[in-house]
């Protein structure tokens, strides 16, 4: 399309630019504030005149932030791996095998997806207490090891593949697990990426559940630790330290987003497009 100059277009770009600044400026300000000495934080300037690492040094002294980063990575990686495995096996059975109760299971999945989490929150905490999982990583992983959404995504992806692919693999003596992970997986890469990104980000950003089941500071995930740091008064009302913690929490996701922008956006958009 040819672009003609017009006031309409000028207005459009103006509006978009203002919107973009509204969304980006707070983050840019945050980066600057994290390096600013306390008395400079309130300023609107993007970069402080006396920038330094003081806020980060103070934060590292006060909370095990490095440890929490590792915890978050560990928990999110385990959750993602498990969700991809369970999602694939269940999705495969639901899409490529005939068995009694298949339709029923499908409806149960769809129904449970629309069940608000508020109803299961308290009982699930009690389950964790009874299984002695409170204050363990398992409490953060097990309840998120299966995802109804992932199952439906895999089911849909497998449905679209030709039966010949599976038949050929069977002739070669491949068992069902081999078929799923070695033959079918390479053919559904977009689905793999979508499920991986959504699960990882979901797990990374989860905060209510960790607040409930983890009390030991050494086991806390990053969002939980930063939350408690921000509310708990241990930041001694020092804004800079709080903001430095927020920066560290935001940075990994932002960097990943810059590299895999397209995948992120496509994945997130597909959450709304399931049917």
């Amino acid at each position: 399309m040819k672009e003609k100059f017009s006031f309409g277009r000028l207005f459009m770009y103006g509006a978009l630019l203002i919107a973009a600044i509204t969304f980006l400026y707070p983050f840019i300000w945050m980066m600057g504030a994290a390096f600013a000495p306390e008395n400079e934080i309130g300023k609107m300037t993007v970069w402080p005149s006396h920038a330094g690492w003081e806020n980060f040094r103070l934060m590292i002294k006060k909370i095990p932030i490095g440890r929490s980063l590792l915890n978050s990575l560990l928990v999110a990686s385990f959750c993602t791996t498990l969700v991809m495995i369970t999602g694939s096996t269940v999705g495969y059975a639901l899409s490529r095998m005939k068995f009694k109760g298949r339709q029923l299971i499908f409806y149960v999945i769809v129904f449970t997806m629309s069940l608000p989490f508020q109803i299961t929150l308290i009982p699930n905490y009690i389950t964790m207490v009874n299984l002695h999982l409170v204050d363990t990583f398992l409490a953060l992983i097990v309840p998120f090891a299966v995802s109804a959404f992932a199952i439906l995504m895999f089911r849909q992806a497998f449905q679209g593949l030709p039966q010949a692919l599976i038949d050929a693999a069977r002739l070669d003596g491949c068992n069902e697990l081999g078929i799923i992970f070695r033959v079918l997986w390479p053919n559904i890469k977009p689905t793999l990426v979508t499920v991986a990104i959504l699960t990882f980000i979901g797990s990374w950003n989860e905060v209510l559940w960790p607040l409930i089941v983890i009390r030991n500071e050494q086991l806390m995930t990053m969002p939980q630790l930063v939350t408690l740091f921000a509310v708990g008064g241990r930041a001694d009302n020092q804004l800079g330290v709080k903001i430095a913690a927020a920066v560290l929490l935001a940075l990994p996701v932002m960097i990943a987003f810059l590299f895999f922008q397209k995948h992120f956006i496509q994945s997130m958009a597909s959450t709304g497009l399931k049917d």
Binding site: T86, A148, A250
Partner: protein, 299 residues
């Protein structure tokens, strides 16, 4: 050991023959749904008739939790706060995201820059966004008040004024989520066939008429999806008031989930907070079903 292996291989053959393999493959889900969904729902219902602080034995108290719930002013206030939040959040979300998507749909240059910048808050943790906005909305040192004063206006108690605190949070939540809905609307807008607009232009329809009579009906499913998604998201409001205000001032930002959390993990009223959760979940499902009915009729 050897026997065990032989056993499993025999079993495997047995499964194949008996067509048990599919059940084996779906078993992770069956176990999961049993332990983390079905059991909790029944257990939650069971808990609603009990008083329990986890440590002392459970005590059956009949429907006392329910009558307490109906007389619990704070709970209804929390529901009211959540509804106030939704009342601003949903329309704002719809209008802003549709407007931005509409602009982006005009073959804009640098579209990926704009899309990415709108999307940034979506992927970043709510904790970060909340800490950030706490600074923006602060009374004395907040950037927004400084800007207002700089422009000759007055300071506003964005988070400390009981009349506006919940709306400040609603605006912040919109800022966080709107990028996702921009993308959803953009996908929706691209499904409208260009011929429709051309035909309308021939008939002399204005831009606004085209939007109202062609675009809006065509993207109705997306509107529906955005309303449902932001309703469900809004009803889950928790971390924003938890960090920013702790539910204050005067409990005006106490959300229903925050109240349920406090009942369970500050006062250890497990039975009562299960009752609140149960009631609240049924309320959410009712609202979503009503929305579905209402919006589907509109088509």
């Amino acid at each position: 050991m050897l026997l065990a292996i032989e056993n499993t291989s025999k079993k495997a053959a047995f499964f194949q023959k008996k067509k048990l393999l599919p059940y084996l493959l779906v078993s992770p889900y069956l176990v999961f749904v049993g332990v983390f969904v079905l059991f909790p729902v029944f257990f939650c219902f069971f808990l609603t008739f009990h008083k329990w602080n986890i440590i002392a034995p459970m005590k059956f108290i009949g429907t006392a939790n329910y009558s307490r719930l109906f007389h619990d002013r704070l709970f209804w206030k929390a529901i009211g706060n959540t509804l106030k939040f939704l009342l601003l959040h949903i329309p704002l979300q719809l209008i802003v995201s549709l407007f931005l998507a509409y602009l982006l749909n005009h073959a804009i240059k640098a579209i990926s820059f704009f899309r990415a910048s709108f999307f940034m808050p979506v992927i970043v943790s709510g904790v970060v966004v909340t800490i950030l906005w706490q600074q923006l909305l602060g009374f004395d040192s907040g950037l927004i008040n400084r800007m207002l004063v700089g422009l000759g206006g007055h300071k506003s108690g964005w988070l400390v004024d009981p009349d506006i605190a919940i709306y400040s949070i609603a605006v912040m939540a919109t800022w966080k989520n709107v990028g996702l809905y921009v993308i959803l609307f953009l996908v929706g807008l691209q499904t409208v066939p260009p011929q429709y607009y051309e035909a309308a232009k021939m008939e002399g329809a204005s831009k606004w008429q085209q939007f109202y009579h062609i675009t809006l009906p065509m993207i109705n499913p997306t509107v529906f999806m955005v309303v449902i998604l932001s309703t469900i998201g809004g009803f889950s409001l928790f971390i924003e008031p938890y960090i920013m205000t702790g539910g204050g001032p005067l409990n005006t930002t106490l959300s229903a989930v925050l109240y349920i959390y406090k009942q369970a993990f500050q006062y250890y009223n497990m039975g009562y907070s299960a009752t609140l959760g149960f009631f609240y979940a049924i309320m959410i499902m009712t609202v979503v079903v009503l929305q579905k009915k209402f919006i589907e009729k509109e088509v």
